[in-house]
Symmetry: C2
Subunit: 187 residues, 2 copies
């Protein structure tokens, strides 16, 4: 009888700071999702509105660069938009974890899986766009691909800057997945 | 006294299938890591040994394509090699989880974090290489980048095929992270 009483006492002693920690992690998760959503939205909007027309034309050609001249940037905008939409929707589940922190192991596992898939999609988009930005800046002598950033300076600066929001979201996803694993272990 | 006895009984009843499930997941994790390691090793080796010399030369130029003509493929080989090395090392921890399945929550969380980082690295490499393969095949009219796969047919086929191992490993990483989350929740 005594032993079981001591055990119960120990469990409730451990539970209090654990619950506090789970709640803290859940609130952190919620905030980080908002930051990541803003980052991906910024990247999508910034890339999607990038265009530059050079101040000279020939009789037949107008020198103009739009983001969808390169399919990779279309994919970048699409992936960032999808991930942004997902992050906004996931806020509901994240909020549910803050208020119902005790019985949410299954929904947390679901969230870890979806986070991992979205992390993969976002990383793919960012890496693909980063690669094209690199070739745009430096070209490749062996493949005879010439850099066009010398001419389309503003276009390139804007596209390069757009990557930042996406890269921030990538790092946040890593932190979120780690935090979710810790939260699940505390249940 | 009776209540606590019933509770203890319930816990031990639940524990048996849970332990079995954790063990099953740990064994699956071990096998998947081996498959992913083979996939990344195959990708790294296959890309790293790709070279093609066209059967004609001019007086000054020898038409030759090697994987390191494009820095992206160097990054692809490097990232696949690093992830392959990590996967081989992580087998030790995975094996530890099979034999010591009860007291391994912390090492599982560590593994989830490292897996996530490596998943990000591998996805970045695969996406970057995939982008360059795409441009090599189709070029880009707007950027004046011409496809070279018409000439370097063997080179392009080999490089495209090399991506498969890497993509398989990417999918496996997603499964591994999900399985780790489930395992942690069962502790």
């Amino acid at each position: 009888m005594k032993v079981s009483a001591v055990e119960t006492g120990e469990i409730s002693q451990v539970s209090a700071p654990r619950k506090g920690m789970i709640r803290g992690l859940s609130i952190m998760d919620f905030i980080l999702r908002i930051v990541a959503a803003i980052g991906t939205l910024g990247s999508a909007l910034s890339t999607g509105t990038t265009r530059e027309t050079l101040p000279f034309t020939t009789q037949f050609v107008k020198f103009r660069a739009v983001f969808d001249d390169l399919p990779t940037f279309v994919f970048f905008v699409t992936s960032n938009s999808i991930v942004c939409g997902y992050l906004v929707l996931s806020l509901a589940l994240s909020f549910f974890h803050i208020i119902r922190r005790s019985s949410a192991a299954k929904s947390r596992i679901l969230l870890v899986f979806l986070d991992t898939v979205m992390f993969g999609l976002l990383t793919t988009g960012a890496a693909a766009a980063g690669t094209i930005v690199y070739v745009s800046h430096y070209g490749n002598v062996n493949a005879n691909w010439f850099p066009f950033c010398g001419q389309y300076n503003h276009f390139c600066e804007r596209i390069s800057g757009s990557l930042i929001g996406s890269f921030i979201a990538v790092v946040i996803f890593m932190i979120i997945i780690l935090m979710s694993a810790v939260s699940i272990s505390k249940h």
